[in-house]
Symmetry: C2
Subunit: 430 residues, 2 copies
């Protein structure tokens, strides 16, 4: 075996993250060369917009707007930071078929096509590395692959969308309404102008599909994941939650129980003493539970050009060392597809906020609906009363109950004459 004199890299995309990667490759060339043994050489950059060179002082002759030219360039590692499903998926596939290592930050592609691409990479004797697809610079893919490999993972809970965590932190700390908090996040560049991908939970769903496929060595796709966004939360929910000793977070939860998987993304009440409850602002955190290790938590900046470059370059250095040492990557092995539990079978405690007529007998009607469905009430608190409208607000906490039974109860309660509306229903994660 002869050691190559350099490792050749092609970069697909020179957006915010791509520029960060290009800057790191240039600024740290000497240190990376030392770590790999030979230099990393950037051979080609796919980017249609030449004005992007303002942000990175690259040799303009490296730039091409033609995907074929970039993909046909002789190289060892392809870094994909285009984002979105297409054409990124096709470019990754072509690169793997050519025997190249692929390093990607693409959560949508990995969530939808990860198992297929990993299998393809294994057959081609190469690898696809995707640390940057979840949690920005926080190491989480590699710990699941390597550091926790001796464990059976029983579950994970994560705050993996910085935009929504920022909005929820504003609502909780400053009592802001959702719309105002979203606007503030947009002004600060934490939320996009079209924010649905974040606030409706799609982004977190992609990331949870990736994490749970890896943690449980199976295939979990985005469609397997239950999803609920944060748009229905009101500052009152945060206030009531706090009185009860909880915070509200958009949680991504995966759990394995006797071969059945729970995978869900929704806002949830989390006891305020939990370390995960203290992860505020744009920070991300992932808590993993294994049979040997117990609970471990990984926390840091979940987005941004620099943190994401940290993850991408860790994968690039890893791939480069494999190339220099001519070592075969370990192929992806997943076990049988596991059944995903329907959301209706979830057993959880519930927080339910209702606006009701401020009259005797209301509670009896509500309690009967719950009782008829075998949902046991743990506590009822009457909150603010609106004397003019003659309405009161009730917060009900249930004991552990099946989701289906709770939803049936809610439907019946909404039919009660004295109930103005059911304001919100949140699950409690203990």
């Amino acid at each position: 075996m002869s050691v190559p004199s350099q490792v050749k890299v092609v970069l697909l995309g020179l957006g915010v993250v791509g520029s960060g990667v290009a800057r790191a490759l240039m600024a740290k060339a000497e240190s990376y060369s030392q770590r790999v043994g030979v230099p990393l050489v950037l051979r080609r950059v796919l980017e249609r917009d030449p004005s992007r060179l303002r942000f990175v002082p690259l040799d303009p002759s490296l730039l091409t707007a033609d995907p074929e030219e970039a993909l046909e360039e002789d190289c060892d590692i392809v870094i994909e930071v285009l984002g979105g499903e297409h054409p990124a998926y096709d470019f990754i596939k072509q690169s793997l078929l050519r025997g190249r290592y692929v390093v990607t930050a693409n959560k949508e592609v990995m969530a939808k096509h990860g198992p297929e691409l990993l299998t393809l990479a294994g057959k081609a004797g190469t690898d696809i590395l995707y640390e940057a697809s979840v949690g920005g610079g926080i190491p989480i893919i590699s710990p699941l692959k390597r550091d926790l490999a001796a464990n059976e993972i029983s579950g994970l809970r994560a705050i993996i969308n910085g935009t929504t965590n920022y909005i929820l932190t504003c609502m909780s700390r400053e009592g802001m309404e959702f719309d105002a908090a979203l606007r503030q996040a947009q002004e600060l560049g934490y939320a996009e102008r079209q924010p649905a991908n974040d606030i409706e939970g799609h982004d977190a769903v992609y990331k949870l599909a990736i994490l749970s496929s890896l943690a449980f060595r199976t295939r979990v796709g985005p469609d397997d994941v239950y999803r609920e966004g944060i748009t229905r939360l009101s500052p009152r929910d945060f206030r009531y939650a706090r009185e009860l000793g909880y915070v509200i977070k958009l949680l991504a939860v995966a759990r394995r129980d006797e071969g059945v998987l729970q995978v869900r993304v929704h806002p949830a009440l989390l006891p305020e003493a939990e370390l995960l409850a203290k992860v505020d602002g744009v920070l991300n955190a992932v808590q993993v539970e294994g049979d040997l290790v117990g609970r471990v938590l990984f926390q840091g900046a979940g987005a941004g050009a620099s943190p994401t470059s940290s993850a991408i370059m860790a994968d690039v250095l890893d791939a480069a060392r494999s190339i220099v040492q001519d070592s075969r990557p370990a192929p992806w092995r997943y076990t049988e597809d596991m059944a995903v539990q329907p959301m209706s079978e979830l057993v959880s405690r519930y927080y339910i906020r209702m606006e009701v007529a401020d009259r005797p007998g209301v509670l009896a009607g509500i309690a009967r609906c719950f009782g008829d469905n075998a949902v046991s009430i743990a506590s009822v608190i009457q909150k603010e009363t609106d004397e003019a409208a003659q309405t009161a607000e009730l917060v009900v906490m249930t004991h552990g109950a099946r989701e289906a039974a709770v939803q049936t109860s809610i439907a019946q309660i909404q039919g009660l004459e004295q109930v103005r509306q059911v304001g919100n229903l949140l699950r409690v994660e203990d």
Copy 2:
């Protein structure tokens, strides 16, 4: 290249951790075999006390009390969980010289001899893996080696001794005196009967030497690390700290500043809003700061048979995959030895608690001592007064000042007639 039909393992030590490793090897044999591609086979266990078999149902014929017999056994991986410097160091060295992979949980050996053993392993074409030497099951060695490899690490701060963190949590939450908290920790098995190694900070020093050698790719030995234990803390310090918005933790701090290293273990005031300030009880956490990633935090159980086995077995699986794939381990490369900053040159803010005569003019004398040494006072709070003894307690917070100047001031203050004693001096970590 032919793939071996099995990976042969020798275990040195069947104490608490060794038993955990043996149990994992047996209980998870099938899953580990799948992950490696071939079975892991335990060939020999070095242990003098056959009664240890009560805790692990091993074939008694695997046991030997003779080190030579264990070391000469034909094998691929040696797991060292004897603890202590000797004979563990010698056994590790012999194993590496025989071309075996070594997996160790031995912080003392790695802190004192890590660079030498890593160099030796590189020359022998093998590797020594030591994830379990710091932070139990929390992945930290591997993230520093791999996941954060694209970063220049500027510093790290860690709570890496569970015993002392448990004692400090008791003192803080329940106002317990140090001796009572230590006794409680001993009763619960969190502290040893001879607790000096933990409470005087030696254990944390070993771990910090290992982490900083790796983070800064240099050689930091235990003697390079400044060390101060927790025995001088009083419940009052926690109370006053809390009033000022701080908690007190035994911190291990390493920082690189213009090629000079700070490495120190001592109790410190930490702002209560920091995530590290919320790591309580026997938990451990390590916060690493890199130029790309910013701050990332790793948190979990820092000790115990199961978490430690998780780390050991991750290293074993990694070594086994390298053996099966016949890939050469990346040799350890460290750069020039960096200068360690003398503690006297540290610049920090300080918390100083003093017992003084409750008389006019006392503060003037104290302030003069600080002023003469160019130490600027940020605030002075007069705390409890003992009317019978006619004494009062003063808490001084300084602005950033050099350690040498503060120590000189303290010496002069202790000479003042009206000063009964300087109760404690703590550094503030912002």
